[in-house]
Symmetry: C2
Subunit: 359 residues, 2 copies
């Protein structure tokens, strides 16, 4: 898949939507449909993004209830114009839309999971307008501490497709790469996946983002906090390093220091949010380091990839460097790339060479 930022995109991302004429080349609608938002991408057959739509109609925020056709309404609002212009466009979707609270429940596939297993697990749902949506399954890792993901698996395969395009074969061949790699997806529920030979081998979930919000909004820690004008990197690093070096008692103990360092005058109100953020991300990385150590692995020296909000990924890059990991590369557009990859692998679209309609 070629993309904005790739050397020779036929359609520039920034111009998408403005270049009306290209819409006639539309070949695929791809949906990233989560809990609080719905993002839609219109692709041409060469894998270029022709147009995008974003809506707040996540599965917990539909324009009307699911029973009253809320999913149909959200889908129509977002994609009707594209389908009117190009009837019969195939549609692929990933994310919480396939959960028990989604449009249709798509059973998890078990880890280790490769792209073929993902394709085999797709479940179809027919919209009221007659269009069939192909919904990508999430991944479940069984065990004493089970883990699940929905949506991230697609992003991970999007990031892996980068390996494929680097070989310029036009077809993903990352299965040839037998190197074990680590991919981090910071966020509300941060995921860390170990990938190898084009497969998600295992993964971990850290509720870092959601716990931060709960501590900040609903505990005594938030009462003395004032949001700073701009992030305070020193306070953030202070938290990361306390978690790394003095975190033995665990997060339940260290977080109290966001308050006590305020009481002793060592942390201003404006510094406390970034300090707490650093503490939690530091505990996440220390925990990741501990599970990597069980596999004779380590964060130090890792060449890993990050997927997600750029500002948040930048925080993780800064924190990772404190753990000796200085090669953390941000993967852009992993979601669209992954949706495109699964759609092509599922035969929903037949990719054409990039030059098909260039100029």
């Amino acid at each position: 898949m070629k993309h904005a930022g790739s050397p020779t995109p036929a359609v520039n991302y920034a111009a998408a939507g403005a270049v009306e004429t290209n819409l006639e080349y539309a070949a695929l609608i791809a949906l990233d449909w989560g809990t609080t938002s719905l993002r839609a991408y219109l692709f041409d057959a060469a894998g270029n993004v022709l147009d995008t739509r974003a809506s707040t109609a996540g599965i917990m925020n539909l324009p009307r209830s699911a029973e009253q056709g809320g999913f149909d309404a959200a889908f129509d609002d977002t994609c009707r114009a594209w389908l009117d212009q190009t009837p019969g466009l195939p549609v692929i979707a990933a994310g919480m839309v396939g959960s028990a609270q989604g449009w249709v429940e798509v059973p998890y596939i078990d880890a280790p999971a490769n792209a073929e297993a993902l394709v085999a697990g797709i479940v179809r749902v027919k919209a009221a307008c007659g269009v069939t949506l192909h919904i990508v399954p999430g991944v479940l890792q069984r065990g004493e501490l089970p883990n699940v993901m929905r949506g991230e698996e697609t992003q991970i395969f999007g990031a892996l497709s980068e390996d494929a395009s680097a070989t310029d074969s036009g077809k993903p061949d990352d299965k040839d790469s037998s190197k074990r790699a680590l991919i981090g997806l910071p966020g509300t529920h941060a995921k860390w996946a170990v990938v190898q030979a084009g497969r998600i081998e295992r993964f971990h979930t850290f509720m870092t983002g959601e716990v931060f919000a709960a501590l900040r909004e609903h505990t005594i820690l938030g009462r003395t906090m004032v949001t700073p004008d701009r992030p305070d990197t020193d306070a953030f690093l202070h938290g990361v390093n306390i978690a790394r070096d003095k975190g033995q008692a665990g997060m339940l103990a260290t977080v109290f220091s966001a308050r006590t360092l305020g009481l002793t005058g060592e942390l201003s109100r404006e510094q406390q949010p970034d300090y707490l953020s650093g503490l939690l991300i530091g505990h996440e990385l220390a925990g990741l380091e501990a599970v990597l150590a069980q596999q004779q692995n380590s964060l130090a020296g890792q060449h890993l990839r990050l997927i997600g909000n750029e500002a948040l990924c930048e925080r993780y890059r800064v924190a990772l460097a404190q753990f000796g990991c200085t090669r953390a590369e941000l993967v852009k557009h992993a979601t669209e790339r992954g949706l495109w990859r699964v759609a092509t692998q599922a035969g929903l679209v037949n990719p054409t060479p990039q030059t098909a309609h260039a100029g």
Copy 2:
């Protein structure tokens, strides 16, 4: 100090309040004045509790604002009748009433701290009615992860006074005991204090209770939870043992299993709250174990004491047993005992022998 439950109390606790005639022996008013409640104890000169009052007028819940005399109003509502009957009664108070948000800010004393230091740190405040309150300071432990307590220090000295009464000398002599001991105070902000030779040497705070409430009420984990009719000990122990044996990735990772074990059908909605509670208490104890290990100490084989809500302390006893600690003794009435001890040591009351007004 003799107390309800002691072999020969002149006034039985259960009868307190009903035995009007004894109020003439009143010698001390002691207040346990926290954030959400105010508990008052009327003592005779032998250290018996003659009467008690409980109010919801904690410092964050005064009948009117502090500026409008809220502290005076709460104090009058609770203690006026006692003072009318016995004018000039000395008054001691401990807890958040001495915080920056309290009646008067009482500076922390530094750990290590003994009872003499506590007495020396008392700050007086004069109520509108002319009575002087003696407010006990909290304790601060400086360092990279500072710790503070307000109120718990008094409970700890109350628990230590038990050692003294065991020797039946009538005067606390626990300084003679050079054995290092561990005292746990489960709760919203659980404290674990190492005491030695009658001193609080150092202590740790775990925000276990408050984090549990925040996770339960304000994260996705609570959404699938249903409160069971009665606590589910198996689910609780499951959580404790996961934290102990599989907790390497840290609490941010393990808590997600309260959700995923529900998704895989291994944990019912009714089991999830106790499982999460077990996880958090398990992480607290694992963290405590880690800091004890740094001091060549361990939970296994400890003979420790617990202070606090009986049902919660029972949970901790069950959890501690999973860490090899089977001798965790509940200390009752530690708050009143501690207030009495500090008051006598401060010379606010001259203790008389128990038999002074027996019968």
